[in-house]
Symmetry: D2
């Protein structure tokens, strides 16, 4: 049986990544691609790397007949997404890749995203899309909220450690480095090649990045008490990939054991041998997350480093993984593509 | 039915690329991986991006029992390959990715590669592996000689034009730009990141690059008379991708029509609309070749630009395409992976 | 004696490059920096790499008192420049970096730049700024028109050959590769890091790039007859640097001798030994142009490859070289900075 | 008066960077360049970007007559340096760029560098070359030991804070990202372009990087008690530049004030406005260090980020700054080159 798929926001990088992945997915068929600003164009006009595919042309969202759609990926900008989703049929399965439905508390949403949520009833039913930790809920969900790509990376490194009570909850630092595609295909001076190539810098320093809202929500829930981490993202001169270097106070062997147990049966989260470290180049273009653990010369400290591809495991691959579950398919279907190296 | 596959030279980039592609190939199983210098290591030690795969450890070539192998990819360095292949079972299907069996004339081989060929009887039976033009021979072949990656790119742009008699055969210029992975995983000062990043330069200028031997052999055969082209390769600060800008004297519309006809039914060679140009970023990681044609303000001149991924369509993808034919499979099986962009 | 310098268009890359160079120039002092869209900001706000300098804040052009200015660099966008320059004091020395005053024939200007020129009397007095070939005129000029960066590169490779009558004037191909900073600090999707990194493509193929107007004008003047070349620019995944691979029909030894003679006493144009080739990485950040010559295996053909930094020798360094002459200084003053490698 | 300069180890990146800087230094003249493995070659053969300079050819070290040398830069590999320096004339002024003379305690040296020091009497007289903090000693020194590039970056961020007693000495984390040129021009697989481009990874995790020995020595001396930091270096896909993100426990405003006071009169260390962050692209090719400070949403925590060019301020620029002092010149002479951006 083939599932009919629509993608809203198909002219952005996460939209294109969904198309790339679904291109070789055996039981999904793309029946509608929407991008309001580029309606009328073919996908090959907007993304020439997809020209070999037989795809529907881009249309406006309100031109889509959702009656013939089994599942809709919504890859629209933050805030836009909620306005669109609340108007979609209430029976339509939806995986949203924006930030609009990640936060369960409307007040927290308002605080981090600067305004009241416009689709509170959808927000109430949304399931947080970190597959490995919400698998059963996702299988039963109608609306899944994809996680932030940075938020996913940090959580893979930390959730088991918090759950197992292994680390000092008041002293967690996530120093994260990300490729530029996470910022999307937006016309900003600081995303120009000439501005970024051969350079690196931190941004949103000191606790202002919105993915902190996800960390706060999730880590506090796992811990059963408020947890606040320090989080510093940096922009790398690379297109894809996130690497998070996480500093914790706890026993490194116990940390390694906790993570190894947590991910022993996970198809996409791979523990490296103790003392080895991941690289973004080894997960590029794939749905895998590599995690390494090292102790420090200072006893009682451990460094956990997690790497994933922000466009794949950090957003569109995760979305497809969730969609597989929602549609009753094998979770890994169409997602076992090996990383592209070099 | 599953075909048992061996890869010799698995510790190089083309070997790793074969493993990447076969990882999601539905009817091939890797049963042996050889790399003499790294025998005893796991593939994850040598290529951490492949750590999610259940692969045999690296062994020495003479440790392999070829009785259980249906097809062998030979991704060894030039000259090494012939010595190995002549000792392999004479019934074993082989796709060789080196330069050792590309040239039909032993004297030409000796002239370009600096020594007598050591496996002349194998050379005599080898079929040149440019799939789109040797498909029937490849289907019946025991030993297929993969083409040079630059040689493939230039031929996609030019073979139909020569066959159709549309261009001046004495005035063809191929100005080619290639990513660095084409040079392999070899320890050379000029392949260091600090030497290459942010720079570009020509090499093998003036008719000294060995892929010219393939151009000479193939273009002369197509034309039925000697054809010598000018060919200048340049090294780009990028890992993957070749783009060949080909200057010909001929009518641009006729050139476009000839190429369009030649590739109308080809699954992997894509003609862009007239006047549009390809980019290496739009074929990265895939088996596709994109070709664009433009006229010039000077009447009677045309520019043909072809782009492909040197590791995929230029070597390992081509090899797998040929292996599919040799094993009686669909030519495209396992090869429809979409390009990875951005 | 210190010369008082103003820079109009200081918020662009060529403006910033002028400031970088003048920072260590011993006899120039920047007294005014204009950038209408960023007036009121400090230069450190707009270009943090210049924060160590004691510079005037950015102002609007009409806030500058030109009475205290000895020479004005105009680094404004094409078309904007002419409107500004015609209103400046008629005694002010000006080096314009735009395309507005490069073409001597107003009809040719209109044809390539899509409209009538708005400052014809200035156009009439402007001297073409290719220093090595217009040195005496530049010394006496009030208004110098900086060349196109691509146009400069191609001319260094070709002017002596045309002047010496060594090559077939009807069969010249310039295949040029340029870094992205040549496109300026403009918000265009195709200049984003995620669009360009790890890729390469041709643009303005077939005789449509505006720098062809300069090639036509200059080469025809040198030859004493109309000369039209083929010119294909490509965009490289690098910030700085142009490399032009020029295919000519002529004797390679004679070509080498001609260029060697022409540049024997030039401080900034360096001939490599015969058969060696330049790289953009070896001129980065400097005012040098490296030129290599090779013969081809086909007799009677030569390949000339020239490399320079588009922001330095291709625009701002050239502008400063010209300003030195106009102000009676040594031509090389402040310009002998060595290239930055790696 | 012109100082006669010799450079030992001129075929490496730091050697080349010294030549680049001295090229425009007004009172230094290079009289000897040594590189044992490349003796007999010209500098243009080894570093084509320096071909415009009139330089002595490369010789073996023992071919140099040090009687005519005022100051010698020693840019040899670690361990090699001590064997060479102990044989040089005892009156020769020397700036060593290796790690051989950085550590005052021979036992600590042996522990981190794996063997007994071979020139203990030189080690005893060597002055640590972090100019801003050892200025007077350097002025009087005969032998100055250049600092590690990472060690310099971390110390600029932390020394004033430790001296002023503002931070918790038991909880300092330096998460550092560096370009690849810091690893030198060495033939290692992990330094190939194809291995590094588009990727990022940590190395020497957990307290094993040798620059920790410098941190320990210096921070403990400043604090008057043992101080051990956590330090995780990462390799960036960029040629130049180090950025260190330093996490401390202390009041952010006090931290900012302390650093601002410490560097108020320093020509090369630039404090950004509070809350702004540096980028490696803004110091590239220069001798400047940019430092930014931010508070965190968690009270009592501060983030200090320092950026410098590893080849300039981190090694060869620092060496020249020290040489200026040792020769009685202005400390900034020849070093005010502005950063190269983009």
């Amino acid at each position: 049986m083939t599932h009919k798929i629509a993608i809203l926001g198909a002219s952005g990088y996460t939209g294109a990544e969904l198309v790339r992945l679904i291109a070789t997915h055996p039981t999904m068929e793309i029946v509608a691609l929407a991008a309001n600003s580029k309606a009328g164009l073919s996908m090959a006009d907007v993304f020439p790397h997809l020209r070999h595919l037989d795809l529907p042309d881009l249309v406006k969202i309100d031109e889509i007949d959702f009656a013939g759609v089994d599942l809709c990926f919504c890859a629209l900008p933050h805030a836009t997404s909620q306005a669109v989703i609340k108007e979609l049929p209430k029976t339509l399965k939806i995986v949203d890749l924006s930030a609009d439905f990640r936060l369960r508390d409307p007040e927290v949403y308002a605080q981090w995203y600067g305004g009241q949520h416009d689709a509170l009833e959808c927000q109430a039913e949304a399931v947080y899309g970190l597959t490995e930790f919400y698998r059963d809920d996702i299988r039963a969900a109608r609306l899944v909220a994809g996680t932030g790509c940075n938020a996913a990376t940090g959580q893979y490194a930390l959730r088991p450690l918090i759950a197992d009570g292994l680390i000092d909850l008041d002293d967690i630092i996530i120093d994260l480095k990300t490729g530029v595609s996470g910022a999307g295909r937006s016309l900003k001076e600081n995303l120009l090649h000439a501005e970024l190539s051969e350079g690196a810098h931190a941004y949103a320093v000191g606790g202002t990045h919105r993915h902190l809202a996800e960390f706060d929500q999730e880590f506090s829930a796992v811990a059963g008490r408020p947890v606040k981490v320090q989080f510093t993202p940096h922009l790398l001169p690379a297109n894809r990939g996130i690497i998070a270097t996480v500093y914790v106070k706890g026993d490194a062997d116990a940390v390694y054991k906790s993570l190894s147990n947590a991910y022993a049966d996970e198809p996409f989260v791979q523990m490296l041998p103790f003392g080895q470290q991941p690289s973004t180049r080894h997960i590029r273009g794939s749905n895998f997350c590599h995690i390494g653990v090292s102790g420090d010369r200072i006893p009682g400290r451990a460094i956990v480093i997690a790497a994933l591809d922000n466009l794949t495991k950090g957003s569109s691959g995760q979305a497809l993984q969730n969609a597989n579950l929602m549609l009753g398919e094998e979770e890994t279907l169409g997602l076992m593509l090996a990383p592209v190296f070099p």
